[in-house]
Symmetry: C2
Subunit: 183 residues, 2 copies
DNA sequence: AAGTTTGTTAAAAATATATTTAACGTTCAA
DNA sequence: TTGAACGTTAAATATATTTTTAACAAACTT
């Protein structure tokens, strides 16, 4: 009987491990280190964890857990919680994938839009100088204009990205694409 | 006078380089190798390029260009074109960022949804076995149910991801978020 | 105040990834 | 049918990233 229980316990672990493997694999692709990916996936099935529990569970070094958990906090997939009576820090995983999606991609896209728009603005200023420069030959002016227009066109995309971010942040996107669509 | 021209030419290169740097930097974050990122960003300002031109322009080895261009083709950011009269292969960069966005993220999200859903289905089957098993103790059944429900809940997210992919692929998302919104 | 416990930082080791050099196979041209 | 041009593959090198071990600093306990 207690052996049957052992089997059930093992089956549960097996079930969890399948999902942990899949989650960690996809997170890997998101530029998260293997340690952090495995950690998050493990925490996904836990109420909360301390650094020592992480180390024991994943059989990895404490500094590795420390840096991993910090990276996960940066992308808001893990939060610190206060546990009274314990000196150890405790952490909980964000279990709402919608929120993780929002934080991760919005952060990424916002940065992309900002970085590239800044570069584009500067570049366009340079190009305008060339275009306005009376000593530039016609074909140089033509070339400068061509690039200017190409950059101007690309701004449409970055503005759209910013709109997308805004609609995700505000939750408006779920009016268009409901979360719980009956399949 | 020809010196003035030289200056204008340099200013154009400078302008391009600013944008090339920004594009390459963001692509880096997308899990593309530096060589591929620089290559795409360079091609963004060219009509078309051959492997030898790439090598010359980026001052890198030919195999590096070869593998980079192949990776870029996989994510459909570069396409091969036929140029009559030349034995060399010629490639052009996808200059429509909306299309790049679509291909890259839809590919990624679809894969994520598929991988994780498969794992979830398998895990849920295991958990059901445990729940139905008459020899399982009540607390084990409770635990199995808890995980089952958690996984069931997470499916909502993956379905939503699939819906998002579909609406991007079909272009329906642009009805909700128009490309050219006056700022 | 001395000794633990806890977490982080810094240097070292291990590992993985990216790039190059060298060798190869194919196709075309003479 | 020989040789050159072109592109790819394979092995070697270089580089970057990840993880660990060791040392440290802060906070708490006794």
């Amino acid at each position: 009987m207690s052996e049957q229980n052992e089997q059930s316990r093992m089956k549960i672990e097996e079930a969890k491990d399948k999902v942990i493997g899949a989650i960690a694999e996809t997170m890997d692709l998101y530029g998260v280190t293997p340690a952090a990916a495995n950690l998050y996936a493990t925490m996904y099935f836990k109420e909360q964890m301390t650094l020592d529990e992480m180390r024991t569970e994943l059989e990895m070094s404490k500094p590795s857990m420390s840096t991993s958990v910090r990276k996960l906090q940066e992308i808001e997939m893990v939060k610190k919680t206060f546990t009274r009576g314990s000196r150890k820090h405790t952490y909980i995983a964000e279990k709402n994938f919608f929120r993780s999606f929002m934080v991760f991609y919005c952060q990424m896209w916002e940065r992309e839009a900002k970085t590239n728009m800044e570069a584009i603005e500067e570049a366009q200023e340079d190009l305008i100088e060339v275009i306005k420069d009376s000593s530039s030959t016609p074909d140089i002016v033509t070339e400068a204009k061509k690039y200017y227009d190409q950059l101007e066109e690309s701004k449409v995309y970055y503005h759209w990205l910013e709109d997308l971010v805004a609609s995700i942040r505000s939750g408006k996107i779920f009016e268009f694409l409901p979360k719980d669509q009956q399949k």
